[in-house]
């Protein structure tokens, strides 16, 4: 009985501790994830992957062309536009204002995507 009580109180102590650890570590972890997460859109087989990407304000999003043909990344409202991206070429844009930014490939306009900045 004593042993079981001890075990129980041990567990009871550990649970809040574990919770506290998660609480303390979580913001740091979330932050480092945001920094490490590649805010990347792959242009592959005439599609944008992902076709919708949600990012925090001041994020820099990079498009990389994995197709054998060039593409041009162009915001539907004219906010940003890349030069022609040949295979493996990249284009980056930093979103400083919240909002939804629809874009497309200006030479293959069936290709559409959006960046949601929060």
């Amino acid at each position: 009985m004593t042993k079981r009580n001890l075990l129980f109180s041990g567990l009871a102590l550990m649970i809040p501790l574990a919770l506290a650890t998660v609480l303390v570590l979580h913001p740091t972890r979330a932050k480092s994830e945001a920094a490490a997460a590649p805010l990347e859109v792959r242009v592959d087989n005439f599609t944008f992957g992902p076709d919708t990407l949600t990012v925090p304000v001041n994020s820099t999003v990079t498009w990389v062309n994995k197709d054998d043909l060039p593409h041009v990344i162009a915001s539907t409202d004219g906010v940003f536009k890349s030069k022609a991206l040949d295979t493996d070429d990249k284009y980056s844009y930093t979103f400083t204002k919240a909002g939804t930014y629809a874009y497309f490939c200006s030479i293959h306009p069936k290709m559409v995507g959006k960046i949601v900045v929060q």
Binding site: F46, P70, V72, I107, P109, K110
Partner: protein, 328 residues
Amino acid sequence: MAKKNLLDPNDNGFIEHDHNNDGIDRRGFLKCMAWAGTGALCVIEGGVLTSRALASDMGSKMKSPKMGELSFVQISDSHMGFNKPANPDVIATLQAAVDKINALPEQPEFILHTGDISHLSKPSEFDNVDQILKGTNKEIFFVPGEHDVLNDDGAMFRERYGKNSKGQGWYSFDKNGVHFVGLVNVMNLKAGGLGTLGGEQLEWMEDDVKHLKSSTPIVVFAHIPLWSVYPKWGWGTDDSAQALSYLRKFGSVTVLNGHIHQTMQKVEGNITFHTAFSTAFPQPAPGQGEGPGPMKVPAEQLRSILGITDVNYVQGRHALAVVDSSLA
């Protein structure tokens, strides 16, 4: 014209579609599709287009007395600068196209290039194409593909190839009684849409053709198909119906396009649509495979699915004859 209008290409390397007799020969149509990639000769004969696949042994058959009043060649999608599978040497295949043209038994009067001259709109790419095409010693008329207007809204293209053109590069001219209209449908494209002609160009075109006699044969050429080949892959033009509506009164209308790197044709009333081979790389049939990227084929097959298109007009006939011819 012979009743049997489809000859077995395995016998003589020659496919002819006679739309004068019965509209479309379905068997012939399918067979021609199967030949996609071998090149075509177009002959306008009294309003409907005839299609023949050219092969190396076809020489004597081509010397038909029906032909000869106006002969021209369409080439397309040279993509100079492309260097990936299945064609690391687009210079060699464009040169092969030039050799093919120079070897035609009936020499064309001029050449139409229906766009994607370059792969990345680079001056050096245009220079290379110009240099190679000089070998034909022919006048060449160009319309831009989307690869030719990548970074400057087509300024360089117009400087090189569109000195006498209107707007973003459209124009018309007459040859031997045939009226040619070169259109631009690769600029100002809208998100989610297809090729676009735009209001200004449509207005110009309406005005350009309205004073012509309805008996005038019309050839319209543009990069992206002016018919709905496969909208899901962007293979069509949003406002092409408007453009075609200006051509209803004419007895003979032939529409020549590129962009899809394969031969295809369709007859709709007075209008015959035809798409040409690329001289650089093939693309898959509509909806076949995951997307419209370059189709990878074994090296020994490549030249059998690249080619040129030869077009022939005979006065009094109702159609232009269109013959696709491979580089193999």
